[in-house]
Subunit: 328 residues, 2 copies
């Protein structure tokens, strides 16, 4: 039996989910919901209706799992609890410090509605979180490190675009290779923010703009750039379009720990991602976990979950025989 | 409340489990069981009794999880089903082609006894299996590759030692760097056994032995060496002891898949291990999963399980609040 999926919100992430649903033979895209005028929205899937978000409650009986593709700053804290009262839902909420609050709100709503919800799914939080947990369970006396990049940070790119005289900008987060090598050798170094990542900015400035002022405003921006070694390169709009139109990302979770007499043996666990498309990969993770949400809901396992609560077998189309014979 | 652990079998793996138990504050080693004369066995933990395996049934009420540290060839197929009738058990059975049979035998026994069992736990099968499953669920239309090494294969080392004129031997499995690079680039190549790994053998020969004959017998040995490019280096016993006394291992599970229009984006997931001590790491994984077995048993979730059936949250000492605040 197919799992009927709804997509709520159709930006980069919504399109990534749409792409992934097509690659999963047990998934069926039922509708795309938008807060924009549905008539103005062109989606890639043929014969799938685009519906106004305000009409979503008419779709209660048709959707097994609703994948909410909103932003973490203001959309998801409102949307997910509201929708979890009537739908099994999943989101990619990534505001790490506010996760406990979001979890409590969604859990209350989902339990009220007898629904299953899963929050903070994607790659970080998501696959990286899983790997932090697995590695810390296996090497409890070790130390872990998360490196991001090389990849585009959309938040940092947006921050640069708000500076006067900037037409467009792209910011790459770059892990410091030497720091990663020290971690991989098991040195367990204490690393400052500056020692772990650098930031590379590509900026298209207005004609006649004071580039030195723009550069200074970028590198001194608190929280975003001041704590890092930041480089700023001015380029033309043509070069921006040609070389910086994609949204690659990735990174590594590395944990090292010791074992044996006198802790003489170093054990290194590394999980890494190299993604040509950040939103398409996040979409793929959401879709795999939508399968688990559907199964947990059918078993009556309601309330808010995270990736930590999902047994891996619930993510896959393969049955027990195939898993034992070919994957274990 | 502590989890009371018994170790059944005290070879390299049993010692690895013992080392790991000490590093987990909720774990308590209750006894080590041996088929040898208990009086002849010296273990590292003080005040822990060494007990004859034949007396194990007297310990039924004292042990929460029994970690069975036997060999996969002949020990575990007998031991695990027998012990699963009376104990919650976990083993590292790694004979991939026979896993479905072993699973069925252990499942029947555990259900009979109302116990929880988990088989084929370690790093491969184990952590590598998990990563094959997670990656295939996220990138269903991709292809995965498992590379092992560089590390000591004890089975291959033993096979060399059985050759006439060989005093000692150590065999390293080495992944082919070029093949790994092709995989990481997303080429999804078809690779033969020979293209994925080479085998490096270090051999101590008897004085006057025909080294060329020994070399030939090694490199032509069916299944073990014939399908690979194998090098044989003769060394002295001193060099063997000095340079080859450890049991390092590791490897990588890499899955690549595509996303986006015309599959134009490549996504790469890689999980890799670099282990100074293979048995100590395997022991660490067994101990983390022993925690989950104990919890599943308390919830009445009986029968045979694999790593695929365990929600990650069951592996960790951290509670929900800590997981949401610090690990997600």
């Amino acid at each position: 039996m197919s799992i009927n999926i709804g997509i709520y919100g159709y930006g980069n992430l919504g399109r990534g989910v749409e792409d992934s649903v097509k690659r999963n033979p047990d998934m069926n895209l039922i509708a795309v919901f938008t807060r924009r005028d549905p008539g103005s929205l062109k989606i890639k899937s043929e014969n799938v209706p685009v519906v106004s978000a305000s009409d979503i409650n008419e779709w209660k009986d048709k959707i097994d799992v609703l994948i909410i593709c909103g932003g973490s700053a203001t959309d998801l804290p409102e949307m997910t609890p509201l929708l979890a009262k009537s739908f099994n839902v999943i989101d990619s909420y990534d505001n790490h410090s506010q996760i406990p609050v979001h979890f409590a709100n969604v859990d209350k709503a989902a339990k009220q509605g007898g629904k299953t919800a899963l929050i903070s799914c994607g790659w970080d939080p998501g696959m990286f979180s899983l790997n932090r947990l697995y590695a810390s369970a296996v090497l409890p006396n070790g130390k872990d490190y998360t490196f991001w990049g090389k990849g585009v940070s959309q938040g940092h790119s947006d921050a640069i675009r708000r500076i006067e005289g900037v037409i467009d900008a792209r910011q790459y987060t770059v892990p410091v290779a030497e720091a990663m090598e020290r971690v991989r050798r098991g040195e367990e170094p204490e690393l400052t923010v500056r020692q772990k990542h650098t930031r590379e900015c590509f900026v298209v400035a207005e004609e006649g703009a004071d580039k030195e002022r723009i550069r200074r405003e970028i590198v001194t921006m608190p929280a975003y750039f001041e704590p890092y070694d930041t480089t700023v390169t001015f380029i033309t709009m043509e070069e921006m379009k040609e070389k910086h139109s994609e949204l690659p990302h990735g990174g590594s979770v590395i944990r090292t720990g010791s074992s044996g007499e006198n802790n003489s043996h170093t054990q290194v666990i590394e999980y890494s991602l190299k993604l040509d498309s950040n939103p398409e990969f996040t979409g793929s993770v959401l879709v795999a976990y939508a399968r688990a949400v559907s199964r947990m809901s059918k078993r009556g396992d309601t309330g808010c979950k995270t990736v930590f609560d999902v047994a891996p077998a619930d993510l896959t189309l393969f049955g027990r025989e195939e898993l034992l014979s070919h994957m274990l």
